[in-house]
């Protein structure tokens, strides 16, 4: 069996039994990256030397391989999360040479649990995009078909897991950026509740929406990674101080008797027939497992795209004001004045989509337009949030598609930003409501592309979402299905 295809919990057993040393594990991944990543472009920056040094510390006894389920486990981390001393670009020219002087909280937690970072994963610039085509370092390709996008914005994180170029990874989700690429790449992606995981050291895109979460080969690994990164952190004032349950403890509990809501607005005309077929198959599996399915309505679903693409750019335009060519990042000298330096640095440093969102955000927040756009969108956000709260009075969890189509072709939507935005229709509402959502592989399209099932739970319902996903994963038989690489 190929070492690189092991899940985190399997690799942990190999390491503990000494079937494999930590350096052998890291070496196996680095060799595979060397072989495959020139074609896939999952990584922006490799951390090969640091990774080998970390691994040696386990092999020579300085660190204990039994200390944690993550000890000696090689991971990828999205390049929007700060890693002390290792370049963090956010997929942008403006941060091409940025070396963070500190670790983000999730970075610190993973490191102290013994995880080894192989490198920084490719992404849409500042996490703005649904295809990873907006990276200043070139697009990532989908391991299942290199002419297709891996989804985005955490496309590098998802493709690296799917192609066995890491044991697991972290992504971030602002409007679907963990769930959609996980769905396109046939892996598990989990966006926790807003406030469950600290964002200290996560470069901000839209602060009322951003959340960090795991992308993994199976549900147990997602539970295991979330266990390490979840919890209160005084450095992030939006982080919620609530106990973290043992996520793996209840995975084995049956889902018999649970009620799953199927939102009627998520089965729209124009949805790809293979998505519909795969999701209906998964619904039948739910019934076989003894769960009850009830139709529910989330009446404001159709307004999610418009609300999100006002709120997220508004917050982004404010967050990205910090890139001024003074403290860090690109500076383009201008002979005129300070204003010229700002404008030149930002115009040359940011790509087209980032500029578009800064422009939209600046416009909707500007005098005379604030009420018509930003305030209106924030009110609609209340309606969308209310839809979910009502639905969860009738059911324990919701099941739905992740995206209306499987992975699309590279270049297909790049000239039409609105079409790209509309592809996020099924992931944006949960982000606006702040609820947890998981993408679980549930089948393959007729063209052999993965299809994901979205499982949504109430606020802080991570334990339930993981349990439902774990039980369905066993029954769906998609586990271990790998893209046809090599």
């Amino acid at each position: 069996m190929d070492v690189c295809s092991l899940t985190i919990h399997e690799l942990h057993e190999w390491l503990v039994r000494k079937d494999l040393s930590a350096t052998e594990a890291v070496r196996a991944y680095l060799d595979r990256i060397e072989e495959l990543d020139s074609g896939l472009n999952c990584y922006i920056t490799l951390m090969a030397d640091e990774a080998m040094a970390e691994a040696r510390a386990f092999d020579n006894g300085e660190r204990d391989i039994n200390a944690s389920p993550l000890a000696g486990i090689p991971l990828a981390i999205k390049d929007v999360i700060c890693t002390k001393g290792a370049r963090t670009t956010c997929g942008s020219r403006i941060l091409e040479n940025f070396i963070p002087p500190y670790d983000g909280t999730v970075t610190r937690l993973l490191k102290s649990a013994g995880a080894i970072f192989l490198g920084k994963a490719n992404m849409d610039e500042f996490a703005m995009g649904s295809s990873t085509e907006n990276s200043a370092f070139g697009p990532t390709r989908n391991p299942w078909n290199p002419s297709r996008v891996p989804g985005g914005s955490s496309g590098g994180s998802a493709a690296a897991v799917a192609a066995d170029l890491c044991a697991g990874s972290l992504g971030t989700d602002t409007g679907g950026s963990i769930r959609q690429p996980a769905s396109f790449c046939g892996v598990v992606g989990f966006k926790p509740t807003y406030g469950r995981v600290s964002r200290y050291g996560l470069v901000a895109f839209a602060s009322s929406l951003d959340q960090i979460g795991p992308i993994t080969k199976d549900v147990e690994d997602a539970a295991l990674l979330l266990q390490i990164i979840a919890g209160y952190d005084h450095r992030d004032s939006t982080c919620v101080n609530q106990p973290v349950p043992d996520y793996r403890a209840s995975l084995n509990k049956s889902i018999k008797g649970l009620r799953f809501g199927v939102p009627r607005e998520y089965f729209i005309e124009g949805m790809h027939p293979d998505i519909s077929a795969c999701v209906h198959k998964a619904m039948a599996v739910c019934r076989d497992l003894g769960a009850e399915l009830v139709e529910v309505s989330l009446p404001h679903t159709d307004y999610g795209v418009a609300a999100y693409y006002i709120i997220a750019p508004a917050e982004a335009s404010s967050n990205l004001a910090r890139y001024d060519g003074v403290k860090y990042g690109l500076r383009v000298p201008d002979t005129r004045d300070l204003m010229g330096m700002y404008r030149q640095s930002r115009s040359q440093g940011f790509g087209a989509e980032v500029k578009r969102r800064i422009m939209l955000g600046t416009y909707v927040l500007s005098a005379g337009y604030y009420d018509a756009y930003y305030r209106k969108a924030s009110q609609v956000r209340s309606l969308i949030r209310g839809d979910f709260l009502q639905a969860f009075e009738q059911c324990d969890a919701l099941i739905a598609p992740v995206a209306p189509m499987p992975a699309f072709t590279i270049g297909e939507k790049t000239d039409d930003p609105l079409q790209m935005y509309l592809s996020d229709v099924f992931t944006l509402p949960a982000s606006l409501a702040g609820i947890p959502g998981l993408s679980l592989p549930c089948g393959l399209s007729s063209e052999g592309l993965p299809v994901g099932l979205q499982i949504l739970g109430p606020h802080f319902g991570e334990e339930l979402v993981l349990r439902v996903a774990y039980q369905l994963e066993k029954a769906l038989g998609m586990q271990g299905k790998k893209p046809p690489l090599r």
């Binding site: 040479n97 070396i99 002087p101 509740t193 807003y194 009322s208 005084h234 004032s237 939006t238 307004y303 795209v305 418009a306 609300a307 006002i310 004001a321 001024d324 060519g325 003074v326 403290k327 990042g329 690109l330 500076r331 000298p333 004045d337 300070l338 204003m339 330096m341 700002y342 404008r343 030149q344 930002r346 115009s347 940011f350 087209a352 500029k355 578009r356 800064i358 422009m359 939209l360 600046t362 416009y363 500007s366 756009y373 305030r375 209106k376 969108a377 924030s378 009110q379 609609v380 956000r381 209340s382 309606l383 949030r385 930003p417 609105l418 935005y421 606006l432 409501a433 702040g434 609820i435």
Partner: protein
């Protein structure tokens, strides 16, 4: 169909956002922003008169802490990423 945003307004917003758009970029931005803003009109189908806005998805309260000094990043490290510095300060173009 009435234009949502004119090229002059796009230029003004770019100025507010500290961006400088090349001519072709400005033309394309105007077309795309018009398409996107027109789509946003969809929100006006909803009557939101009595709906309070949501700014955060979960209930957040003010987070207080003691006003006490703690360790912070040291100067050398903070200046490491500066495009221009003299070792003690960030250097910027003349402002006044």
């Amino acid at each position: 169909m009435a234009e949502k945003i004119s090229r002059e307004e796009v230029r003004h917003v770019a100025q507010l956002a500290r961006l400088e758009l090349a001519e072709a970029e400005e033309v394309r931005m105007t077309v795309q922003m018009n398409q996107i803003l027109e789509y946003m009109d969809k929100l006006n189908e909803l009557d939101t008169r009595d709906i309070p806005p949501t700014t955060h998805a979960i209930q957040l309260q003010n987070v207080f802490r003691d006003d006490s000094a703690g360790p912070s990043i040291d100067r050398e490290l903070a200046l490491d990423n500066a495009p221009q510095s003299d070792g003690t300060s960030f250097i910027v173009p003349k402002i006044i």
